[in-house]
């Protein structure tokens, strides 16, 4: 409350003390509540723009390629991928960890920034949460399909198999099943809960019968009464409170897949925090990758997603990128300090072995490139921001590849060594998942409000019930 009233316009002339507590407005150009509803809804209600069809013309075929290759994989066998001995986990798990990590920024924005009362999150949380869901959809493909015989995937569900044997609940792989499916389910619930009041806005603006029916059903009869808001806000707070440990746990559990093994290079206690920081790092890069073009297309959104937002996200990228850089160096230090020859060798091979290019790409993209964000110039010029965040996007993929493939390629005994080479199916499936991600996101932009209207209205100065009254 005190924050909101601090942004309100004071009644009298400003004293020196007043000036200190006035915060910059979150929404620029004094946009009104009506404008917010009109503009955000008009994106959904207006004629489908040409660029949308053009973009879909690219992403839908890619999605079809992905689906066709998954059908090929199922009908032929997992051998169509380049996975081999010793590299039994390769692009499949690399891509799984890559996509699931991207999702983390959405949950961080929607949950952790909500709990810490970062009000600037309101204009980016909807799109970031959508990104989370679509990234988890892309991620989920890989663990489900890499088992080979997907019709046996029900073995993962907590029911006894044909021999009355139950799941091994002490296995990190089963933890992963629970963590990822819980993460997806809770993310859907959180996202949908946030959408209800905005779906009601779309319902109330509808002119055609079909839209009225669809949005009317989806809005669940929301009326915006305070007796409803009271439970709604509590539900939202609780979901934020539940999602916060959840998002930290998901990538921790993913890292347990590696850390609880005895493979040199994987068996380290630094993995959970290092994976979580990396996930947030890569996720914010993806948020910016998507939001900057979206705001360039819908220019008035710059009043809602301001340069200040971009600046803050760049700072988070800089922070998490530096944590990741610290983790890389600490891994190297412990590998040397631990005096375990296998551990030392594993890291030696990462940096100077056959996959040296992946390691140094990772180092450059994740540790060096984000350092540009120390300079305000690079944080506030959108073209530069967009270019720089492509490095974390690529770098986080390299990180997972380095951890997974290079480690497995150099096992304990040289007789077990081998190389991994992706097949065309590996490559096209991965490219196809970007098509799937893009298609889902384009559908989201077209049919759902991409900015959380009611939350943005709530951070306007006039939303404060004491707006315009004298300060006390």
């Amino acid at each position: 409350m005190s924050n909101a009233s601090a942004t309100a316009e004071p009644a009298g002339p400003l004293t020196a003390e007043d000036k200190q507590i006035v915060r910059p407005p979150l929404v620029l150009n004094k946009r009104t509540m009506g404008w917010i509803s009109d503009y955000i809804s008009s994106i959904v209600e207006g004629k489908t723009p040409t660029w949308w069809y053009v973009s879909m013309g690219i992403t839908v075929p890619l999605t079809l390629v992905c689906l066709a290759l998954l059908a090929y994989l199922i009908s032929t066998g997992v051998g169509v991928w380049g996975n081999n001995h010793p590299v039994g986990w390769a692009w499949d798990i690399t891509n799984f960890v890559f996509w699931i990590g991207i999702g983390h920024a959405g949950t961080l924005i929607s949950a952790i920034l909500f709990l810490t009362r970062q009000k600037w999150r309101t204009s980016i949380n909807r799109a970031a949460e959508a990104m989370t869901l679509f990234a988890v959809v892309c991620a989920g493909i890989y663990p489900a399909l890499h088992v080979g015989r997907v019709w046996m995937a029900w073995f993962l569900a907590p029911v006894p198999n044909a021999n009355a044997i139950w799941q091994n609940f002490r296995s990190p792989l089963l933890w992963d099943v629970f963590a990822v499916s819980t993460y997806f389910t809770v993310s859907v619930l959180f996202w949908y809960t946030g959408l209800i009041p905005d779906l009601a806005t779309l319902r109330d603006r509808c002119t055609t019968k079909i839209r009225k029916f669809v949005y009317g059903v989806l809005a669940l009869g929301w009326r915006g009464g305070n007796r409803q808001w009271r439970h709604y806000e509590m539900a939202y707070l609780l979901l934020a409170g539940l999602s916060t440990p959840l998002v930290l746990s998901v990538h921790s559990v993913v890292s347990f897949d590696f850390a609880t093994s005895v493979v040199p290079g994987w068996h380290t206690t630094i993995f959970p925090p290092y994976f979580v920081a990396g996930a947030i790092f890569g996720g914010f890069a993806m948020v910016l990758t998507i939001m900057i073009p979206a705001c360039a297309i819908y220019k008035p959104l710059h009043d809602l997603v301001t340069i200040n937002h971009v600046d803050k996200m760049c700072k988070i990228i800089l922070l998490t990128g530096s944590i990741v850089g610290y983790a890389y160096l600490m891994e190297l230090f412990i590998a040397w300090y631990g005096a375990n020859p296998y551990e030392r060798a594993a890291f030696w091979y990462r940096a100077f072995g056959p996959y040296w290019w992946a390691y140094w790409s990772m180092m450059f993209c994740n540790v060096i490139a984000p350092q540009f964000f120390w300079f305000k110039f690079f944080r506030t010029h959108l073209v530069w921001v967009w270019i720089i965040v492509q490095f974390p996007n690529a770098g986080m993929w390299f990180e997972r590849f380095v951890i997974i493939a290079t480690t497995l390629a150099r096992d304990f005994a040289p007789s077990a060594w081998g190389m991994f080479h992706p097949t065309w199916v590996d490559i096209c499936t991965f490219v196809g998942t970007f098509g799937l991600f893009g298609t889902l996101f384009l559908l989201f932009i077209r049919f759902l409000p991409m900015i959380c209207m009611f939350e943005v209205k709530a951070v306007l100065p006039e939303a404060d019930p004491h707006h315009g009254e004298a300060h006390h």
Partner: protein
């Protein structure tokens, strides 16, 4: 006075429109002080401090969510110890099947606790709010569509023991409400 809905149907209540959050807030304080019970204020976004202005207590949802989370936790405990220690004890990776194996059970306990808590939070919220429903008497009033955009409303229900159309209308008028309208059912 204006009326909407089917005039022969029973009256749902009387509603008034306000143009800003501040006016709605002060109107709510006065309605609360006048001792009404079955009434509500409607706004495009949650208004800070409105619960106190209306004299409402904290939402009970948190207690339900605690029970939901407890159910999830106990489900995981039963599932894990039940299967691994009783139904089919199997030593894998040298881990015991008795109580000492509990650290390896924590992740699933945690995830199921979160999962059932989240389900309870969302569905509990909907149940407490009487949702989902496809229609409501207030939707008969065209102006009420602006509640999800930038207008604010108060509705005092006919079910309220203090309700009488004339006095409620005068009262809402004295609070500064505009477009005061009687809402009928369908």
């Amino acid at each position: 006075m204006n009326a909407v809905g089917n005039p022969t149907a029973p009256v749902y209540g009387i509603a008034a429109e306000f143009s800003c959050a501040r006016d709605l807030y002060h109107a709510a304080e006065k309605i609360r002080d006048a001792g009404f019970e079955k009434w509500d204020v409607f706004s495009p976004f949650p208004i800070h401090g409105m619960d106190e202005a209306m004299g409402l207590k904290k939402s009970i949802l948190g207690k339900f969510v605690f029970l939901g989370g407890l159910t999830g936790f106990l489900t995981a405990v039963t599932l894990e110890f039940g299967t691994s220690s009783f139904l089919y004890p199997l030593i894998v990776a040298g881990k015991p099947t008795n109580l000492y194996t509990v650290p390896a059970f924590f992740p699933v306990m945690f995830e199921l606790t979160i999962l059932l808590s989240a389900f309870t939070a969302v569905f509990g919220m909907l149940i407490l709010n009487g949702l989902p429903r496809l229609n409501h008497q207030l939707f008969n009033w065209d102006r009420f569509k602006k509640v999800t955009e930038d207008k604010f409303f108060v509705a005092i229900e006919a079910q309220d023991p203090k309700f009488s159309s004339r006095s409620v209308r005068d009262f809402l008028e004295s609070l500064g409400g505009q477009n005061i309208t009687t809402i009928h059912g369908d």
